[in-house]
């Protein structure tokens, strides 16, 4: 196995996630794309940890997993609040703070 095959897979997942964040309109789908990005980062952390033969990569991946769980919780709470106030989670309609 090469180190690069994991890094390329992670780069691809990251770019797909970036596309999703930019192109999706639904708030829940944007949060799913953010999960793709965070998972790409986790693959990189664990791959470099295995490459350098240290468990620090795994430890940081675990921290990222914990923080991703917290982020999804808060993010979905915000999406729910937006839905309750506006009866829509279309992110392109939320322009109250546009100058």
């Amino acid at each position: 196995m090469y180190l690069n095959q994991f890094l390329f897979l992670a780069a691809f997942l990251f770019c797909v996630g970036v596309y999703g964040v930019l192109a999706r309109k639904n708030g829940v789908l944007v949060l799913m794309s953010i999960e793709l990005i965070l998972n790409a980062v986790n693959i990189n952390l664990v791959a470099f940890g295995a490459f350098r033969d240290t468990v620090a990569g795994q430890v940081f991946a675990l921290f990222v997993i914990a923080i991703a769980a917290a982020e999804v919780g808060v993010g979905l709470a915000i999406v729910l609040l937006i839905y309750r106030n506006r009866h829509s989670i279309d992110l392109s309609e939320i322009d109250a703070m546009r100058g």
């Binding site: 196995m1 770019c15 664990v46 430890v59 917290a70």
Partner: protein
């Protein structure tokens, strides 16, 4: 060595297809289910890399909790269960251009930096090593993460509560 590469190829192909479907499908529930394939594939990659504890945590936390949370979010926002036409905004082609260019830059840089670094996994990193590392070297970040989780939990309840 060969079996690992075959397994990686199959898993990576499935993950790439599923990831693209997550961001292109017209059905929100299907997007959540394709996300399960991607997250499970990431867990299998962790096993290939000899990170058993992280792999199991990935399966429990992501597939067990996060995807269920997403499905709750979909149902609570009363998203259409079937196909819906307007899930993408009008900057789709610009977004595609951005991500393809980003992918090009990343692939070029990674090939340049780690082009022929072989990954040799002699033995998996055991859960005992991970535990020792968390509770010795990284004990302060660990405590900070637990406080952060508590804060996020309370924050999510406060935000989503009806009053």
């Amino acid at each position: 060595m060969q079996a690992e590469n075959v397994a990686f190829g199959i898993i990576a192909a499935a993950m790439c297809v599923a990831a693209i479907r997550v961001v292109t499908t017209k059905n929100i529930v299907h997007a959540a289910l394709y996300l399960v394939v991607v997250l499970g594939g990431v867990g299998m990659n962790f096993i290939l890399l000899g990170a058993e504890f992280t792999a199991v945590t990935q399966l429990i936390v992501y597939i067990g909790a996060v995807v269920v949370l997403f499905l709750f979010g979909i149902f609570l926002t009363r998203a259409p269960i079937g196909r819906s036409a307007d899930l993408d905004n009008d900057q789709r082609w610009l977004a595609l251009l951005t991500s393809v260019m980003l992918l090009g830059v990343l692939v070029f840089v990674l090939e340049d930096a780690f082009g022929n670094d072989k990954l040799v996994i002699e033995q998996p990193q055991t859960s005992a090593e991970v535990g020792n590392s968390i509770f010795q070297t990284f004990v302060i970040p660990f405590e900070v993460v637990s406080v952060l989780l508590l804060a996020a939990l309370i924050g999510a309840i406060v935000i989503a509560r009806r009053d």
